[in-house]
């Protein structure tokens, strides 16, 4: 187990290094000059040259990359091209909002998709099954920003129950925090729930047709025991993977939803950084997201070993 962890962490470090290189190279291919974007439309050439030099953008690319990686190893991700603030602080500051949104979206999704997915499989072909299938089709195909706007119009405009956008830190005012959290997390969660419901349904259906289920039934086990002990135990292992991938992708920030709901997370930060061509911030955000992704995967692998005795970590 210890050796497994060490090996995985070492692999992760290599992956992260690769991420920095790929992102750095990709950014060179993106059209758009950060200096020109920063100066707006009116400036003199001298101003342009001075800013380019101050930002270190006049140095050769390999020098820029190596100095970036060198500093990154010490936890210094550079300074924002636009604000001049340290990138490490900027990205970490956005983490709580993104973690909150991702966690509650997945929680909502699990609470909805588990019962819905399992029931629609167990009650295959029933009205409930059809409802579940329509729901998941709807959730997967309807754009989330559109659902978000409808939700705002309904819950703010018509009913007046919830604020349309914004964020309050939990420590400041828990009630307000929750009110602001509901709409974005339910909007994101619905999409995730739709994906998970479909997956759980098919996974349970598949497990129910396995020989060991027939054997269990043949042994005279009660149907509830068959479902809980035999079907679910086996059907849910792949679900863990899919749920974890969903969680990991939400940790990367849900750009459209964060922008719509004025949610101060990594997604909105990434959006602003791309628009401003603020490459240091963008690199920092991508690096953090990649690290979160790797961490989530690692946790899932460990969880696997717990769920399924046939899998062991070595």
């Amino acid at each position: 187990m210890g050796r497994f962890l060490v090996r995985r962490l070492a692999q992760s470090a290599v992956v992260l290094l690769g991420v920095t290189l790929v992102v750095f190279l990709l950014l060179q291919l993106v059209p758009g000059d950060p200096v020109r974007v920063a100066l707006g439309t009116r400036f003199e050439q001298d101003t342009y040259d001075a800013l380019r030099e101050r930002a270190g953008l006049d140095r050769p690319l390999p020098v820029q990359y190596l100095s970036y990686v060198g500093n990154a190893l010490t936890g210094d991700l550079g300074v924002s091209f636009r604000s001049g603030d340290p990138v490490t602080g900027i990205v970490l500051e956005r983490l709580p909002a993104t973690l909150t949104l991702a966690f509650f979206a997945v929680l909502f999704a699990l609470l909805v998709s588990f019962p819905l997915g399992i029931l629609s499989a167990v009650k295959n072909g029933s009205v409930l099954d059809h409802v579940a299938r329509v729901f998941s089709q709807f959730g997967v195909s309807v754009p989330d920003f559109w659902m978000g706007i409808l939700a705002i119009i309904l819950f703010t405009g018509v009913l007046g129950w919830l604020p349309p956008s914004g964020y309050t830190p939990l420590g400041e005012d828990p009630v307000d925090w929750f009110k602001h959290l509901v709409l974005p997390s339910v909007t994101v969660g619905l999409v995730t729930a739709a994906i998970l419901t479909r997956f759980i349904r098919s996974s349970v259906l598949e497990a129910m047709s396995e020989d060991y289920v027939r054997t269990a039934e043949g042994k005279g086990l009660s149907p509830r025991r068959v479902v809980t002990r035999h079907v679910l135990r086996n059907a849910l292992i792949p679900v863990v993977t899919v749920a974890a991938v969903q969680l990991a992708s939400l940790l990367g920030g849900v750009i459209v939803i964060e922008v719509l709901f004025a949610w101060p997370g990594l997604g909105q930060l990434t959006f602003d950084a791309v628009r401003a061509r603020d490459y240091p911030v963008l690199q920092g955000a991508v690096l953090l997201v990649a690290a979160l992704f790797l961490l989530t995967n690692l946790l899932v692998d460990l969880l696997y070993a717990k769920l399924d005795p046939r899998i062991s970590v070595r």
Partner: protein, 520 residues
């Protein structure tokens, strides 16, 4: 078996139901309605105080007035900083930090008397030295507003209440160069040198920055050291709401008191609404199309004129601005003292086709570069394309993200593009850098020696009448040559709650809350 499974299913669906019910219940917070944060907590009752909640369309990148170019930064900074002089509602320059000024006979020396007793919000005195420091910082470090001080030879502060600016040549628009833009704000040396100015600016304006919570809001509080009349509001909280529909929901639900981020298609309808106040004013901005004079056949002025004749600006305004703009064939809007009436082009497809035929142009295909950053360019381009189609010109609309757009513009890689200029005041700002053959923003490649000469002359012409006449001639020549194909001046629309009073929409888009109050 059947029965037990049903039992299980029943339990599960009950669980689902409970979860949903619980989240809905929690969501509505016990049926309480949502009230406006802040204003009620701050005890601002009858006195017109309280905290004004303002939703703006994005977050400032930083708050150093000399480094930022973001309008979102200036919306905040307008309330934090002062300039030497400042524009009134008619955009005439009025005293601010300078209480009066005089110019030498040769117009090369301007002497400003600086108001006494002005303090920065940290309590330190603001004197002529701070002003000299500010301007020298902009010049020496070649910061973005440096172009405004290009004609300055030296700046002196002989005593705390006197500032002397020496010029290389007479500069009749010096006042608007110094005061027409918050990027010329007077900063505190200490604040700059400590590096705090980016996130915690210290100014001498009516409000002072209290808190910036990244990604969500900036809070200003009344500056008790303010030299002018104390603001009625206890403070202003700016929140950043990018989506106009969401910003409007914030206003209508009472979450915010003020926003300038209204969905353009709803402005007219909102003006009749009772629960919000929406007002528009003509702006100083103009939107235009430019063709690449270095490419054939756009190097031929007649081809450019043919295109000008093929357009119907009213239709463009209807689609791109939902009617909230005034068509104009020159740059400067009707409301400006520098307006010059001139409109030689009336849509005439026959004449346009004749001009194209005479120029030997047949089956012209051109691209029109627009950007999703400014959606009005995209919708205007569609109208322009269909109007040009009628004279046999095929337009390919190239919609780019703004940084990429700027790249292409800089490289001269376009047949034509559409964009706007925002917030100019003096005619030199409207015409020089865009149309002088050596102008830094002459991306279209216009060159007319006569216009160059007039632009240089008008820059230093100190007689206002003669100067105005000169700019009239310049405007006519630019329009005749179709250096830019001017389209319209948009209105600026902003909305606020009925309890907001003392706020005015300004044509330069400056957002000033110093005289604003909240009733009840």
């Amino acid at each position: 078996m059947h029965q037990s499974i049903r039992h299980l299913k029943h339990r599960l669906s009950l669980a689902t139901g409970l979860v949903i019910a619980a989240s809905l219940l929690a969501a509505c917070g016990g049926g309480e309605s949502v009230d406006v944060d802040g204003s009620s907590d701050d005890g601002g009752g009858g006195g017109g105080g309280g905290t004004l909640q303002a939703a703006i369309g994005g977050e400032p990148d930083q708050l150093d007035p000399h480094l930022t170019t973001s309008y979102f930064s200036f919306q905040v900074l307008e309330n934090v900083y002062d300039t030497l002089v400042e524009p009134d509602e008619n955009l005439e320059m009025q005293p601010s930090l300078a209480s009066e000024w005089e110019t030498s006979e040769d117009q090369l020396t301007w002497t400003f008397t600086i108001r006494e007793g002005v303090k920065f919000s940290d309590g330190s005195d603001l004197t002529s030295e701070d002003i000299a420091y500010t301007y020298n910082r902009i010049i020496d470090e070649e910061l973005q507003p440096a172009y405004r001080l290009a004609g300055v030879k030296s700046i002196e502060a002989p005593d705390p209440t006197t500032l002397v600016i020496n010029l290389d040549a007479p500069q009749p628009n010096l006042l608007s160069a110094l005061g027409g833009y918050k990027g010329m704000a007077i900063v505190s040396k200490e604040n700059v040198e400590s590096g705090d100015v980016k996130n915690n600016p210290v100014g001498s304006g009516p409000f002072v920055l209290e808190d910036w919570s990244n990604g969500s809001s900036i809070q200003l509080a009344r500056n008790d050291e303010y030299w002018g009349e104390a603001p009625a509001l206890d403070g202003v909280e700016f929140t950043f709401v990018k989506d106009p529909t969401v910003a409007l929901q914030n206003l209508q639900s009472g979450q915010v008191h003020w926003t300038d981020n209204l969905p353009p298609q709803q402005v007219d309808q909102l003006a009749d609404s009772e629960d919000v106040v929406v007002e528009s004013a003509p702006s100083q901005d103009y939107w235009y199309m430019a063709m690449n004079h270095e490419r054939e056949p756009f190097d031929n002025p007649d081809v450019r004129r043919a295109i000008a004749l093929a357009l119907d600006r009213e239709d463009i305004v209807k689609v791109a601005k939902f009617g909230n703009a005034t068509v104009n064939q020159t740059a400067i809007p009707e409301t400006s003292a520098w307006y010059h009436e001139y409109a030689p082009f009336e849509q005439d497809t026959d004449e346009a086709q004749q001009l194209l035929e005479d120029a030997g142009v047949d089956g012209l295909e051109m691209d029109l570069m627009v950007t999703s950053e400014y959606p009005e360019t995209v919708s205007a381009a569609q109208v322009i394309a269909s109007q040009l189609d009628e004279v046999g010109i095929t337009v390919e609309i190239r919609e780019l993200e703004f940084p990429a757009w700027l790249d292409e513009q800089g490289k001269g890689n376009f047949d034509s593009f559409m964009l706007g200029w925002l917030g100019n005041i003096d005619p030199d700002e409207f015409y020089y850098s865009q149309h002088h053959s050596k102008g830094s923003n002459n991306y279209q490649g216009y060159s007319n020696p006569e216009v160059d000469q007039m632009l240089d002359e008008a820059r230093t012409e100190t007689d206002e009448g003669a100067r105005k006449e000169l700019y009239g001639q310049i405007a006519e020549q630019i329009v005749d040559d179709v250096s830019y194909l001017y389209l319209y001046n948009p209105d600026v629309a902003q909305g606020w709650a009925p309890e907001v009073s003392g706020y005015e929409v300004r044509s330069d888009r400056a957002i000033r809350f110093r005289s604003t109050s909240l009733d009840e």
